[in-house]
């Protein structure tokens, strides 16, 4: 079973990496780029997807709720 987790910095948190990449994109000619935000994507394989446990792990380990939001997707 495949589990996909996306972790993104919260909108309210400064993402200096995203800003630097946005500026580089502008230099590359994509002048109308408004913003870039950089997060993480994790692919997890498990035998059985215990969603409650997975959410707990997303909350406690894979993301830090102070600065990040996560999205959990379980593939059948």
């Amino acid at each position: 079973m495949k589990v996909k987790v996306t972790v993104m910095p919260k909108k309210s948190v400064l993402d200096p990496q995203g800003v630097a990449v946005r500026d580089a994109m502008r230099h590359q000619g994509l002048t109308d780029v408004k913003s870039v935000r950089i997060g993480k994507f994790m692919e997890i394989e498990v035998e059985h997807a215990d969603e409650n446990k997975l959410h707990e792990i997303c909350r406690d380990l894979l993301s830090n709720p102070v600065i990040e939001d996560y999205e959990l997707q379980v593939e059948a």
């Binding site: 910095p9 400064l14 200096p16 990496q17 630097a20 380990l61 894979l62 830090n64 102070v66 600065i67």
Partner: protein, 243 residues
């Protein structure tokens, strides 16, 4: 008086902390491996700087789940003094023993330099002491003190939501702010983009202190500063009173 310096895989300021506690302050100091179950027998617990678990995932995110951290949290709950320096500060935030988080420096660069921090609260267990410096001067917090200590980090930008910042200010939990040579809190004096120039905070109870600057690298005039001694001295005096 027994002090523990906790070692995670990737800690690299552990020996500096050990040296200061043992040789400068004469404490019975021991390294504690992160897989050890207990720090109960110690009076002071130090989480040193470094790159625990290679900073994988987020700084401190994996170290936070090391077996020893359960005991650190229990001892902190009981009021024992816990000091987290740099990566130690990051671990304490990840462990929710301190509010907020430390994110990538605004500049994206690793900063490695001496900074000045203004002491905002000189009544905490970690900052109340007076320090007789080797040049004969007395370092005392009551004079609007600036501490000169080095920073060395890539992820030291302190961040927290509005409400947390308000609470930190209201409860005098902000202990250190980055400042210029005159003690002014300015944006140019902020090496990493920390919210409100925050360099160090204590928890609500006042017994857990995290800071990004390295006091253990500023305990000897030969190294350019001994201001960091004020923090260790305060902590040791406070721990003695607890005993």
């Amino acid at each position: 008086m027994k002090a523990a310096v906790i070692r995670f895989p990737g800690s690299n300021c552990d020996q500096d902390c050990f040296h200061v506690l043992k040789n400068d302050f004469g404490l019975d100091t021991q390294y504690v491996w992160h897989k050890d179950a207990s720090v109960e027998q110690f009076d002071i617990i130090v989480l040193p700087g470094g790159f625990s678990y290679g900073d994988y995932l987020r700084c401190g995110a994996i170290a936070r789940f090391s077996p020893v951290m359960r005991s650190v949290a229990a001892e902190a709950e009981r009021g024992k003094l816990v000091l987290g320096i740099c990566n130690g500060f990051q671990i304490l935030c990840e462990a929710r023993l301190l509010p907020g988080a430390l994110i990538r420096n605004r500049s994206l660069h690793f900063v490695c330099e001496y900074v000045r921090t203004r002491l905002e609260n000189f009544e905490t267990a970690f900052t109340h002491a007076e320090l007789a410096k080797s040049d004969g001067n007395l370092l005392t917090a009551r004079t609007g003190l600036l501490l000169r200590m080095p920073v060395a980090h890539g992820e030291g930008s302190y961040t927290a939501d509005e409400q947390t910042l308000r609470e930190l200010n209201r409860n005098n939990q902000v202990v250190l702010r980055y400042a210029d040579a005159h003690g002014a809190i300015t944006d140019t004096a902020n090496p990493n983009g920390s919210a409100e120039n925050i360099a160090g905070i204590v928890n609500r109870a006042g017994n857990v202190f995290g800071l990004m600057p390295h006091p253990e690298r500023a305990c000897d005039p030969l190294l350019g500063s001994e201001d960091g001694k004020l923090i260790f001295q305060s902590m040791i005096q406070s721990a003695m009173k607890q005993k």
